[in-house]
């Protein structure tokens, strides 16, 4: 008899609807659970706040710093292109490709070139430089100095300024005038501070009138301790054949183009013989800086987030154990296991999301504060603060899995007895 009833075909039974819980009820129950113990919730959320905050601040600071470096870099290095003619394979065999005397004109024709100038070391056969014809026995008056031949445009190309006097022009070079410009180091050693009275220096036995003294250069610092003479003068007096270095000052953003065009302009037959130094692409550099900063601090942020996740998991687990009675009651009221699991998952996810929102806000504030302190422009990818709550929510979700499963596994009978 009993057997017969138990094995009754199921379709004779009335349909029994399984337990159901509306999403809206699930959310409101979870919110109520969160606000039941506000103090604890705040502490729980703190871990995620720190983790997400660290991540957002890291990404923001890296981006800001990268942007800042590129900004500075633009001002000087990104506008510099240098062309050199490599020495022959057996050094001393002279330059492999001649840099033509009209290098400046050729380069200035290129669109994007602000200034260009050629320079090269002059071989004076070991002659010393002195400023007075009469040797003073008490002091050193003769010096070994680098002698450079330069073209008129070089001063602008190296972004140099003069302390006094003037730079030579094309006329000086064409006439092979015996004039010289001194770097500040050379001027100091030769004890020359003014040029109004046309002081004379001697390179070996050849006199030169000093017409200017350099104050500073932003490129080619070798000029600072050198004696610079016009290219034409060097050619006539010292068999100077070719410049070795061409310094070009280009428009921002034109570096790559000019680096390509300059060798062709200078040596159309065999441009490959000239070597070009151009600045790294700003994009590459910024990426490099960002990845350096990111790699380090993202690890720290990740660790903080992990700690935050463990915090959520821990507190949710404690909360599950404390609320055993409530879980039993809900089961008795008709909650299925999945409803219990869902409630705790939503609670931990919501705490993670709240942590993400607060953390993202704090992270943005940190970026702005650091930028303000350093007078930088704060830069932040818009997706960073937008994704932060999502990352926080995922953290909370993952952290809640184990406690939620523990809660769902509780047997209602035991849960009611324990609670």
């Amino acid at each position: 008899m009993t057997e017969a009833i138990i094995t009754d075909p199921p379709d004779t039974r009335p349909e029994v609807a399984p337990a159901r819980m509306a999403v809206r009820d699930l959310l409101s129950e979870a919110v109520a659970g969160i606000f039941a113990r506000p103090g604890r919730t705040v502490l729980t959320v703190l871990g995620t706040v720190l983790g997400i905050g660290a991540l957002v601040a890291t990404l923001g600071v890296a981006k800001t710093a990268g942007n800042q470096i590129v900004g500075r870099f633009d001002e000087l290095s990104a506008t510099s292109v240098v062309v050199t003619n490599e020495q022959g394979f057996f050094g001393g065999g002279g330059p492999r490709a001649r840099i033509p005397p009209d290098a400046e004109e050729r380069l200035m024709r290129l669109n994007g070139v602000n200034a260009a100038g050629a320079m090269g070391t002059v071989d004076v056969g070991g002659a010393l430089v002195r400023s007075v014809p009469i040797p003073d026995p008490l002091a050193q008056t003769e010096f070994q100095m680098s002698i450079y031949a330069a073209t008129p445009g070089l001063l602008d190309a190296v972004r140099g300024t003069l302390l006094t006097g003037r730079w030579f022009d094309g006329g000086h070079s064409e006439r092979a005038d015996r004039v010289a410009i001194l770097g500040p180091g050379a001027a100091q050693r030769l004890n020359i501070t003014r040029v109004e009275q046309q002081p004379v220096i001697f390179i070996g036995e050849d006199p030169f009138v000093v017409i200017g003294i350099i104050d500073s250069v932003q490129r080619q610092p070798g000029l600072l301790s050198a004696v610079i003479i016009p290219e034409g003068t060097a050619r006539e007096l010292y068999d100077y054949t070719s410049a070795t270095t061409v310094q070009i000052d280009v428009e921002v953003g034109a570096a790559s183009l000019i680096a390509e065009q300059a060798p062709i302009a200078l040596n159309p037959n065999e441009p490959g013989l000239l070597r070009v130094q151009k600045p790294p692409e700003p994009e590459d550099l910024r990426r490099e800086v960002e990845s350096d900063v990111n790699a380090l601090f993202l690890v720290l942020g990740g660790v903080a987030l992990l700690v935050g996740a463990i915090g959520i998991a821990n507190v949710t687990l404690v909360s599950v154990l404390e609320r055993v009675g409530e879980i039993g009651l809900r089961r008795a009221l008709g909650a299925a296991r999945r409803h219990i699991a869902a409630q705790f998952l939503v609670e931990s996810t919501a705490m993670g999301m709240v942590g993400g929102v607060i953390g993202a806000s704090l992270g943005v504030l940190v970026v702005v504060a650091i930028s303000a302190a350093r007078t930088w422009t704060p830069v932040l990818d818009p997706w960073v603060p937008l994704l932060a709550p999502l990352v926080g929510g995922i953290t909370g979700l993952l952290a809640g899995v184990y406690p939620a499963l523990r809660a769902a596994r509780l047997e209602p009978v035991e849960a009611l007895r324990a609670g």
Binding site: I5, D8, P14, V16, A19, A22, L329, R331, G334, A335
Partner: protein, 226 residues
């Protein structure tokens, strides 16, 4: 004729305890008709709670069949059993099991969210249930501000808000003094007169006196059923 609210057919529940198994309920037969007021009595350890848990679909018998309103519950899955609990069964516990940080009204509404009650009917139903137990003036109170008797009334309101077929009470007056206990029992009498089917587990004679049927358990066996 409609099926009885409860029908137990040779129901047994055996708990495994290491190598031996402990029978908590043995070959129990019981029929509770619509409108019955049944007291399950017996000394502690006699299987009263086991029987209540099985009746409340919180536990499954290891043997035998339990039919709730003619539905063989052993063929149901967990989700369906939970669904039946939410719609056909109300629980009243000795320790009330109220959520202390939710208001009286919210505690009663809790029973409606797992029930398929339409949202618009929930609040009126909860308010009506609270008025029914005489707590219409305490709806926004927290349970911590209520007396023991009032708390148990909230629990009863929560149990009846879903209009269950069967109200199960486990030592409902165990945590109450005799005067408030009496008032709770008087409420049970009223509910019973309204047609509610009641099964009360107790070891208190004063409680069982209110019931018209008594099931006495000893060592897991039904000793006497009237």
């Amino acid at each position: 004729m409609t099926a009885p609210v409860v029908e137990l057919r040779r129901v047994s529940r055996v708990f495994p305890a290491g190598d031996v198994s402990v029978p908590a309920l043995v070959d129990a037969d019981l029929v509770v008709e619509q409108g019955d007021y049944v007291a399950v009595v017996g000394p502690s350890g006699s299987g009263k709670s086991t029987m209540l848990n099985i009746l409340g679909l919180l536990d499954r018998p290891t043997d035998g069949a339990y039919l709730l309103e003619g539905i063989d519950t052993s063929t149901l899955n967990e989700g369906q059993r939970a669904g039946l609990r939410s719609q056909r069964i109300g629980f009243v516990f000795q320790s009330f099991h109220l959520l202390s940080h939710r208001t009286v009204l919210e505690n009663v509404l809790l029973a409606t969210i797992y029930n398929r009650m339409p949202r618009s009917e929930r609040l009126p139903a909860a308010e009506e249930a609270l008025r029914r137990v005489g707590l219409g003036h305490r709806m926004e109170f927290l349970p911590t501000r209520l007396s023991g008797g009032e708390r148990q009334r909230v629990a009863i309101a929560r149990a009846i808000v879903t209009r269950p077929a069967l109200l199960l009470a486990d030592e409902p007056t165990g945590n109450l003094d005799s005067a408030t206990g009496e008032s709770v029992l008087a409420l049970f009498d009223e509910l019973r007169n309204d047609g509610l089917t009641l099964v009360v587990v107790t070891h208190d004679d004063k409680v069982s006196q209110h019931a018209e049927r008594h099931v006495r358990l000893r060592d897991g066996r039904i000793e006497q059923a009237a």
